[in-house]
Each structure stands twice: as structure tokens, then as C-alpha cells.
């Protein structure tokens, strides 16, 4: 099977400092890969390099074809990106917000300007994100979780074969976070779309990822099934604090053992 996204020996330097080096990972059709690692590890930078927003060495392939920023800018419908910042600088209804995603497919960004395919895509995105009942609500009146799902629906509405999402569940309670990932998984399973998702919550990653990549200081420490990648030793190396395995596949930071002080 050709990987939907294949990143080969990707490296990136900024201002003479190596930010990423030798990153090799792949996301298969229908698969959710979670990217975990400490703040400043280079997770968001890796997403930027993949979508060609930052110049990087190495190769990025989509469905076997080498792509770069220029090519992706010309074909924004091939890759959907959900930034971490939840910006909506305009009082807008949920369905109008979702319809903005169709700009990537050549629509004019209005609901009225959508063709049948576009309208169908908006409906599917609303349904997958459990927002059909909220469609006429102004985004400003939504709760944090609903707003996060609305922005996810905006990205899903493109129906791109690949989605890059930067902490789509940041700041959400566990139930709301699970709803966001449930929407992602529903879409990935139904359409063979692939997703590479930056996430901080290791329990979420363990629950929803097909594979996990652990990134620290610009290098991949592990890439594989959750049970192998989320290893206490690997995570301890990545985060610099101890982790505890609970024997049933769960893993969590050993805050109690930190005691006197953290490594700086």
C-alpha cells in the first residue's frame, strides 16, 4: 500500500540552529498518526515543513508523488490544515464557518456560492463533528468544545486525502477532547483520509492513534504502535521526567516522583 503521506529524512534549520533532523515517518490511508513530544520539540514546525510553509531538506510524498510548498499551494484541496490557534475574526454561523473550508476547492467562501458537491461536503463535515443541530448558531456563542469541533469541520469540509491538525483538542475537557478525536476517526475510517495530529494528552493519543511518533529536540525517538511508542523509557528521555506504566497499557507522568525539583 502506498502511504498517503511519506516523510523521508526531513531536516530543517532556522537561523543556523537545527530544528528538525532525519525525520522519517509515514501515514497510511485511513490512519491517524499522533505526534507527541514536549513543548519546543518541533511538532508544529514539522507540520509546517510538511505543508511546505517552511523550507526543509528531505522528501515529502503524498500518495507516492513528491510534493513541495509550491505544488501544495496550487492544490490546497489535497491537504487540509487545522492550526492550533482558534481564530474566527468575524461573527459567523457554524455552517458559514464550515463552508469557508470549500475555498480550498475553488468555492467563493459563501454558503450560497456552493455547488451540490460543496453542500454535500458541508453536510458530511457537520454530521461527522456532531454539529448538525448547531448549524445556525453563531460561533461566538459556542462552548470551547463545540468551537473546536466547528473548526475541525471547517478543515474536514475540504475532504482532502490528508489532514494535518495542530492540537485540535487543546484546552478541552476529556469528554470534549474525545469527541473531537471521535470525529477525526469517523472520517478517517469512512473515507480512507489520513491524519497527522499533534497532541499533548498521551492518554488521548494512546486511545485514538493507530501509530504514534515521539518527537524530542527535533528528532524522532520512536514511531510505531501506541503500545511500543509510548514506552516509559522513551517518554522519560523525551520529556525529562519519569513515567509510570500501569500494567494495563496505560502510561502517565510520574508527578509524585518529581518531588524536590525538575531538571531544567
Amino acid at each position: 500500500m502506498t502511504a498517503r503521506l511519506a516523510v523521508e529524512t526531513l531536516g530543517l534549520s532556522r537561523a543556523g540552529r537545527t530544528v528538525l533532523s532525519g525525520i522519517t515517518l509515514a501515514v497510511d490511508p485511513g490512519e491517524i498518526v499522533c505526534l507527541v513530544g514536549p513543548n519546543g520539540a518541533g511538532k508544529s514546525t514539522l507540520l509546517a515543513a510538511i505543508r511546505g510553509a517552511l523550507p526543509a531538506s528531505g522528501t515529502v510524498r503524498m500518495d507516492g508523488e513528491a510534493v513541495n510548498g509550491k505544488r501544495l499551494r496550487r492544490h490546497p484541496e489535497r491537504l487540509a490544515f487545522l492550526p492550533q490557534e482558534r481564530i474566527i475574526a468575524w461573527p459567523i454561523t457554524v455552517e458559514a464557518l464550515v463552508a469557508l473550508g470549500r475555498i480550498a476547492n475553488g468555492a467563493d467562501g459563501t454558503l450560497a456560492g456552493l455547488d451540490d458537491e460543496g453542500r454535500g461536503a458541508v453536510e458530511r463535515a457537520l454530521a461527522d463533528c456532531a454539529l448538525t443541530d448547531f448549524r445556525h448558531r453563531l460561533v461566538g456563542t459556542l462552548s470551547g468544545g463545540e468551537k473546536a469541533r466547528a473548526l475541525l469541520a471547517r478543515a474536514l469540509c475540504i475532504e482532502a486525502p490528508l489532514l494535518l491538525a495542530d492540537e485540535p483538542a487543546a484546552g478541552l475537557d476529556p469528554a470534549q477532547a474525545a469527541r473531537v478525536f471521535e470525529a477525526l476517526r469517523r472520517r478517517a475510517r469512512a473515507t480512507a483520509a489520513a491524519a497527522l495530529v499533534v497532541v499533548h494528552d498521551l492518554a488521548l493519543a494512546a486511545a485514538f492513534a493507530d501509530r504514534i511518533a515521539v518527537l524530542a529536540e527535533g528528532q524522532l525517538l520512536a514511531f510505531g504502535r501506541p503500545e511500543t511508542a509510548l514506552d516509559a523509557r522513551i517518554l522519560a528521555k523525551a520529556y525529562g521526567i519519569g513515567f509510570r506504566q500501569d500494567g494495563q497499557g496505560g502510561i502517565s507522568p510520574d508527578f509524585a516522583a518529581i518531588g524536590g525539583g525538575l531538571p531544567r
Partner: protein, 328 residues
């Protein structure tokens, strides 16, 4: 401009009002209502009524429509692009540098004819170039506003200097009147000269609608939708400089329309910055045309300048909008 009349009742209604205003403006003269449209049609080319209609009234009405449309559209585009509700064509320095060009030309003795408009268009172009130079490398909201303030300050300083050293009282009065802005005395010659850049500018502004909508999601998301912020900015600035720069070159600086009209229309439009541009273009035309026609018909004695009237009405309206916005 891709006008979506059929699916937009607001735009449709405003266009109807503009149509009625246009007919009304053409039929109103110094003596009040005069059915010159019909007289002119009756007597054919060469008649006095026909002459008044084509040489005097039509150019002035058409210029008012173009000016209002350019000011309204560019105000809405710049407010969306800079994500700043205080933005208007004046903010990026276009109006001030056009004014500088005009007063310099008047100072060198250029009276009637093409010299003043050409100098003023040149001024607008150079002002824009300077904005690009200052903001180069970072064509985003903050740097653009800074660049605009710098160009405005520079143009204002130079304009004061030129006005200060004006050789004759006559020139001084010409300069001040130009700076106040008026459609009085515009003729077919003026219209012919500015219609092409004005229309091209407005068309350029109309290409920004999709980008403005995408920009509501922030720069990163907008870029991922295929939008180039640089292209959008260039289009917005070039469109503003061409349309507003060309029009104020013959009408003088008419303020507040670009700032106030988008604010008045925003509550009616709500969720679409692209639609705001279309609606503001039509509403701006109505406002300028109505204001100018009332000046032309009802004010006797020393002519009140259009720019004074728009400022006089614009400022309190803006105050009300600001007060209401501050409370909610």
C-alpha cells in the same frame, strides 16, 4: 464586481435605491425638479437640455457614484484586510499623498486642465510605493498601518509646507478648496480621464472578497486554503490607490465615507466580509450621490464643499457607531 443580486436582497434593494437616486439626481437642477431627461430625449443631440445633461449633470452624477463606490469598497476591504475597524483609504496614505500631488501642481501654477489630476494621481502612486517600501518583507496588518501613518505624516508635513509658501492668495484658496473636496465643476474631461483607473481599481478590489473571507480564519488557515496574503494585500492597496487615487484627483479629498459606510452596513451584513465590500460599494455610491445632489440643489450662495458635508455627517455617525460598539 461579482454582484450576486439574485441571492442577496440587501444588495438588490440598495441597487434599486441607487438607480432611483441616479434618475433623481439627473432630474434635479438648480431650479429644483426639471425633467431634463425627457426634454433632452425629445430634442436630440445639440440641444441645450442635451448639453446640460451630458456635459454637466451626467459627469458629476457618474463621478459621485464612482467615488462613493471606490471609497465604500476600499474602506470595507482595508478594514477586513487589516482587521482594524478604523481603517479607510486614508489610513494607507493614498488620500494624503494624492492631496500633496495636487497642491504642488496648483503651487506651480497649474489651474484648469489635466495637470492637477495627473499630479495627484502621481502623488497617490508614489505614496503607495512608499508604503510598500516601508512595509516590504512584512505585508501584514501592523506594518501596513505603521507604513500608512508614516506616509500620512510625511504627506501632511509636505502639504502644510506647500500651502504655507503658496505664491498667491488665489492659489492658496485653490489648494484649500481642493483639500476640502468637491464635485462642483467636474466635467466630461475629468470623467474620461479617471473612469478607466477607477473602474480597474474597483474591479481589483472585487477580487479580494474570497481572500477576505478566508482571512477571518487567521493567516495560517487562510494560507492553507490557497490564499496568498501578499497577493491579497497588493490587490487591496493597488485597487485602493487606482480607484480612490484617480477619483480624488478630480474631486479632491472626500473623507469619512470609506470609514463610516462599512460601519453602517456591518450590522446588516453580519457574517460575510466579502459581502460587506459589495454592499459598502453600493451604499457609498448612494451616500456620496445623495450628499452631492443635495448640495447642488438646495444650498445657495457660496458653495459648500462635499468633503465638509461628508465629514460633518460622518463624524457624529462614527461617534454613535463607536459608542454602540464600545457598549456591547
Amino acid at each position: 464586481m461579482r454582484l450576486s443580486f439574485r441571492r442577496d436582497p440587501l444588495l438588490y434593494g440598495l441597487s434599486q435605491i441607487l438607480g432611483l437616486c441616479t434618475i433623481g439626481a439627473l432630474c434635479l437642477g438648480p431650479e429644483g425638479f426639471d425633467p431634463i431627461l425627457f426634454t433632452a430625449a425629445g430634442e436630440g443631440t445639440g440641444g441645450a437640455a442635451h448639453l446640460i445633461l451630458t456635459e454637466v449633470r451626467f459627469p458629476r452624477v457618474f463621478l459621485a457614484i464612482l467615488l462613493g463606490s471606490a471609497l465604500g469598497a476600499s474602506g470595507a476591504v482595508l478594514q477586513g484586510l487589516l482587521r482594524n475597524p478604523l481603517a479607510d483609504p486614508g489610513v494607507v496614505g493614498v488620500t494624503a499623498s494624492a492631496g500633496l500631488g495636487a497642491v504642488i501642481a496648483i503651487g506651480f501654477g497649474a489651474g484648469a486642465g489635466l495637470a492637477v489630476p495627473l499630479a495627484s494621481m502621481l502623488g497617490a502612486g508614489l505614496g503607495l510605493l512608499l508604503v510598500f517600501l516601508i512595509a516590504r518583507g512584512g505585508l501584514n496588518g501592523a506594518t501596513l498601518i505603521l507604513a500608512g501613518i508614516a506616509v500620512n505624516a510625511l504627506a501632511a508635513a509636505a502639504t502644510s509646507l506647500v500651502v504655507n509658501v503658496a505664491p498667491t492668495p488665489m492659489m492658496l484658496s485653490d489648494m484649500v478648496l481642493w483639500l476640502l473636496g468637491s464635485l462642483a465643476g467636474t466635467d466630461t474631461q475629468d470623467l474620461k480621464m479617471v473612469v478607466a483607473p477607477a473602474v480597474i481599481g474597483i474591479v481589483l478590489l472585487s477580487f479580494t472578497l474570497k481572500g477576505l473571507r478566508a482571512l477571518a480564519l487567521g493567516r495560517e488557515a487562510a494560507t492553507s486554503l490557497g490564499l496568498s496574503e501578499t497577493r491579497l494585500t497588493v490587490m487591496a492597496l493597488l485597487g485602493t490607490a487606482l480607484s480612490v487615487g484617480a477619483l480624488v484627483s478630480v474631486t479632491g479629498a472626500v473623507g469619512f465615507v470609506g470609514l463610516v459606510v462599512p460601519h453602517l452596513m456591518r450590522p446588516l451584513v453580519r457574517h460575510d466580509p466579502g459581502r460587506l465590500v459589495q454592499v459598502s460599494a453600493v451604499a457609498g455610491s448612494i451616500l456620496v450621490l445623495a450628499a452631492d445632489t443635495m448640495l447642488r440643489v438646495f444650498i445657495e450662495g457660496p458653495a459648500l464643499q462635499l468633503g465638509v458635508v461628508t465629514a460633518f455627517f460622518g463624524a457624529p455617525i462614527f461617534l454613535i457607531v463607536a459608542l454602540r460598539g464600545g457598549r456591547s
